[in-house]
């Protein structure tokens, strides 16, 4: 009799796990993992606000990429199969510094022009844009001696003054103007299919 009194009272908590599981599954189903990552882009101003000035851009400073409605590539007038080859071509084009008369004058003048058709798939568009941005990120990263990955990390967090300094150095910010801008011109798709 005395032994029985010493037994500790216990609450049966085995169903607690089940309750927690229910809550867990509810959250799994109703929420999404934040995947706010992607290719960032700054759109040009409203087409109606731009004053129509006829700026003549020399042919040599333009790197032309065209994609048609069947997702075929035309780079600098030549058909191209392999999308990943664009990256090296752009680097060569931008870093030409006036040596080759058919290539760009300087990184500042160089413009990558990317034109698609209305029938081009978004998948192809993303692939090409990825290569163009990759080429620029590679060049920026090289200028401050880091890897491409590290460059993007730096660019993601500009609140840190050290990162901001590296970021400006990579892009060549001097007196408010960029020496090494990322000039990507995305033309409005042609209306004809």
């Amino acid at each position: 009799m005395a032994k029985r009194q010493r037994e500790e009272p216990q609450i049966n908590s085995s169903s607690m796990a089940d309750i927690a599981f229910l809550l867990l599954i509810f959250f799994l189903v109703t929420t999404t993992i934040a995947n706010d990552r992607g290719l960032s882009l700054q759109l040009p101003p409203n087409p109606e606000d731009i004053v129509d000035v006829d700026v003549k851009i020399p042919e040599r400073n333009l790197f032309k990429i065209l994609v048609n409605s069947s997702d075929n590539l035309l780079v600098e007038g030549e058909p191209l199969e392999d999308v990943s080859a664009i990256r090296e071509m752009i680097k060569e084009f931008v870093l030409n510094e006036g040596k080759d008369p058919t290539s760009s004058d300087s990184p500042k003048e160089a413009i990558v022009s990317f034109k698609t058709d209305r029938g081009t798939s978004q998948e192809m568009f993303i692939k090409v844009l990825d290569e163009i941005q990759g080429a620029y990120y590679d060049m920026y990263a090289d200028r401050i001696g880091v890897t491409n990955e590290r460059w993007r990390e730096i660019a993601n967090d500009l609140s840190d003054p050290e990162n901001k300094r590296l970021y400006d150095q990579g892009r060549g910010l001097k007196d408010g103007a960029l020496e090494f801008p990322m000039n990507i011109s995305i033309a409005d798709p042609s209306k004809t299919n």
Binding site: S13, S14, M16, A17, I19, A20, F21, L23, L24, F27, L28, T30, T31, T32, I33, A34, N35, D36, R37, G38, L39, S40, L41, Q42, L43, P44, P45, N46, P47, E48, T116, D117, R118, G119, T120, S121, Q122, E123, F125, I126, K127, L129, D130, Q133, G134, Y137, N148, R152, A155, N156, D157, D188, P189
Partner: protein
Amino acid sequence: MSKFKKKANTKQEIPTSALPDIIFMLLFFFMVTTVMREVTINVKQRIPEATQLRKLQRKSLVSYIYIGEPKKASEFGSEPKIQINDAFADPKDIIQWVNEQKDELAENERDQLTIAMKVDEEAKRGLVSDVEIELRKANARKLLYTTLQSSED
């Protein structure tokens, strides 16, 4: 005899009292790392892959546009459509929507509004660029094409 009895009394159960704690830990992890679905997505979303991803820093400044084939093809057809908030929209509705989104932000942050476009990889560029032209008119020029990390890199 008494010795034998004591041995028989030892419990064979595995203590499970820590199990709820473990599950709660998982639960809290999910509660912290995820966000509630704010809208029901009515369009198919096969997000394209890319390597040169950039991250968005401030969620409060981001608004989403979904583009893709409607999930209920029998009702809405199989042409890709634009979805903003809970409903399908036309490109001409976008200016008004952007202004509504801007009104929700503090005045000094309005020009930092970022539009994240979740575009199905099968969607055609024509529709996407119609949206872009409207965004330019609405002066919401920071754009992000949501992509997945490519496994090749």
